[in-house]
Amino acid sequence: MTLGKALGAGLRRAMQDDDKVVLLGEDIGRLGGVFRITDGLLDEFGAARVIDTPLAESGIVGTAVGLAFRGYRPVVEIQFDGFVYPAFDQIVAQVAKLHYRTQGRVKMPLTIRIPWAGGIGAAEHHSESPEAYFVHTAGLRVVAVSNPQDAYRSLRQAIASDDPVIFFEPKRLYHHKGEVELDAPLADAPPMGLARVVRAGTDATLITYGAMVSTALQAAEAAEDEGISLEVIDLRSLSPVDYDSVAASVRKTGRVVVAHEASREAGVAAEVIASITERCFEYLESAPLRVTGHDVPYPPAKLEKYHLPDLDRLLDAVDRVLDRPNSLTGADA
């Protein structure tokens, strides 16, 4: 099953399990969404639960807030990552704060799904990685999925959570396939906030999330050819970050690279490395490194390959944290 289909299955299951779950978004009804994630749900659940909205993102999220006040569990689809900014106030000033303001009397169990990040040659505003804004915002949970199984389970967990969840879906993986256990009890799934070691290793830890998990696994395979054992961690949750799992790995390897597509300054990698340094400074054999998008606006599609961290940039950073000559150029670290 593809990651996109797994998300659709997760939505369907959540709507079957709880009739308070309603979907809102642009083109999610008859069209099934521009990525077809909600395909078939209008026919199955009707227009009262699969709501095609006017083209106004603040309006979509603000309306979802009102539905939550009424006891509903809204799932919002923001059509593209770059379209979330008009909804920023409603997310940051309303969704994130109402539970705190009311000491828990008002619950905001929203899930805000965001097709996310680059690598698909899209037009401007269709390839953004805005996750750090939301990680920085108290009151939100932030999830980024990397495979169909996780997409199916994490989406159901996000919808079931009484907290608001910003749910990032790597759109370049929408068509990637993987095994999905549709009927396994959700209670048996790993909790939403836990990281996952997707490949065990001993020489260095490579931490990332979303579509970059695939790139990191490729890097680990390439490194293995050179006798380097990389541990790859899929963070899965960016708020909270599972520092217990991260620290356990870093204590083992002593060397760490954190990678993401989003730009660098004040990004998730900065926070992760700062926290690693606070928790396991004495275990570090070398300075942790970041491999990220550059601090530029997302570039035009023909240039995005120079922006997105790729296999070689990851391996270059691995060489440097291992204090070994560059595996491509032979230059000293």
Partner: protein, 371 residues
């Protein structure tokens, strides 16, 4: 019920475009549109409306006083807007749900507030002044216009539930420039949601006159969204109540949203941090004092022989008693302990915040006395 297409140039002209039942001198003027909605309102009810407005003004004055005495961080006075707030709020059913801005002290009062409910937020003790479920009212909203969308979403939920409740949102003339308010009207119209928009046009958004927000009667915008509207004299409590009953009937009977513009005046500052003498004329304020909503209804009742000096004195005493309770509740508040700063951020455990809380608790524990 839509106004004529006439640009608003000045206050007098502005007011002529609004519906009223009581003239500023208290005399009753026939209003074929609104009269049927208040046909049942007898003199006893009018006295009750007057009483509410007098008590509200006293609560508001106490709020200002408490702020001036350092007991509140801020207060947003509603003096001058008593008729708008009491008239509309008294038309609500208990099961209706209100999404207010921050100046709706009169609506809080009408929803059955306890004395502390007026001040908890302004004193800085809590993020919300009252329990939304108890008052049927969302927390006060400071982001201009954001609450209008929440009302529409709530109304969609009502529609989905198939009940006859109505969601109501209050906002000011300044808010009508916000995207959220316009989006709320679009969403409400598209889904025919049972929501009532109450715009209190109090003529000033801090220092900006309403003409900066709109060169056209604000109620006149609503029909362009497919929402019927009425523009009422917001200092006429009967007209406000009638308009609200019309709007609630409309929404409750499945006809979709309705919109009220209540033309009123903010007689005080925007908040206690504001100085309106920097931007508006004393003459304008004086002209609005002559349209005071309380003296208007009082004049009406006295002319009808339905109000005695004793009645007024009793009401003032009752208002003083409410203010005294409010003051006592305010001064008696106990600030939560240090670790409460972490309470309620999330509904479920959050490893990152839980760790911060533990670290801060450990830090506090290093002080001999504790905190």
């Amino acid at each position: 019920m839509s106004p004529q297409i006439t640009p608003i140039a000045d206050t007098a002209q502005d007011l002529e475009l609004s519906e009223r039942i009581l003239a500023p001198d208290g005399s009753r003027v026939p209003n074929p549109r609104l009269d049927p909605f208040v046909a049942d309102v007898d003199d006893a009810q009018l006295r009750s409306l007057l009483r509410d407005m007098i008590i509200l003004r006293r609560i508001d004055a106490e709020g200002v006083a408490l702020q001036r005495q350092g007991q509140l961080g801020l207060w947003a006075p509603c003096q001058g807007q008593e008729a708008t707030q009491i008239g509309t709020a008294r038309a609500l059913s208990p099961q209706d749900f209100v999404f207010p801005s921050y100046r709706e002290t009169g609506v809080i009062y009408s929803r059955g507030a306890q004395p502390a409910d007026y001040v908890r937020m302004w004193r800085g003790e809590e993020g919300a002044s009252y329990d939304p479920a108890v008052l049927g009212m969302a927390p006060l909203q400071i982001i201009i216009g954001a609450q209008t969308l929440h009302a529409v979403g709530y109304a969609l939920g009502i529609q989905h539930d198939g009940t006859d409740e109505v969601a109501v949102t209050y906002f000011g003339d300044g808010a009508t420039s916000q995207g959220d308010v316009n989006e709320a009207m679009i969403f409400a119209s598209s889904y025919q949601a049972p929501v009532v928009f109450v715009c209190q046009n109090n003529h000033w958004a801090i220092s900006e006159p309403v003409t900066v927000q709109s060169q056209y009667p604000i109620a006149g915008r609503a029909p362009g969204f497919g929402i019927p509207s009425v523009r009422v004299d917001g200092n006429d409590v009967l007209a406000c109540m009638a308009a609200m009953r019309w709007a609630l009937d409309h929404a409750r009977s499945g006809k979709g949203p309705a919109y009220i513009e209540a033309v009123t005046y903010r007689m005080g500052p925007h908040t206690t941090a504001d100085d309106p003498t920097r931007y508006r004329d004393e003459a304008e304020l004086a002209s609005w004092r002559r349209r005071d909503p309380i003296t208007r209804l009082e004049a009406h009742l006295r002319a009808a022989g339905e109000l005695s000096d004793d009645d007024v004195a009793e009401t003032q005493a009752a208002a003083d008693a409410v203010a005294k309770e409010m003051r006592a509740a305010c001064l008696g508040m106990v600030t939560r302990p240090a670790l409460a700063v972490f309470d309620g951020v999330y509904a479920e455990p959050h490893a990152g915040l839980d760790r911060q809380r533990a670290e801060y608790a450990a830090y506090l524990a290093t002080f001999e006395s504790g905190v």
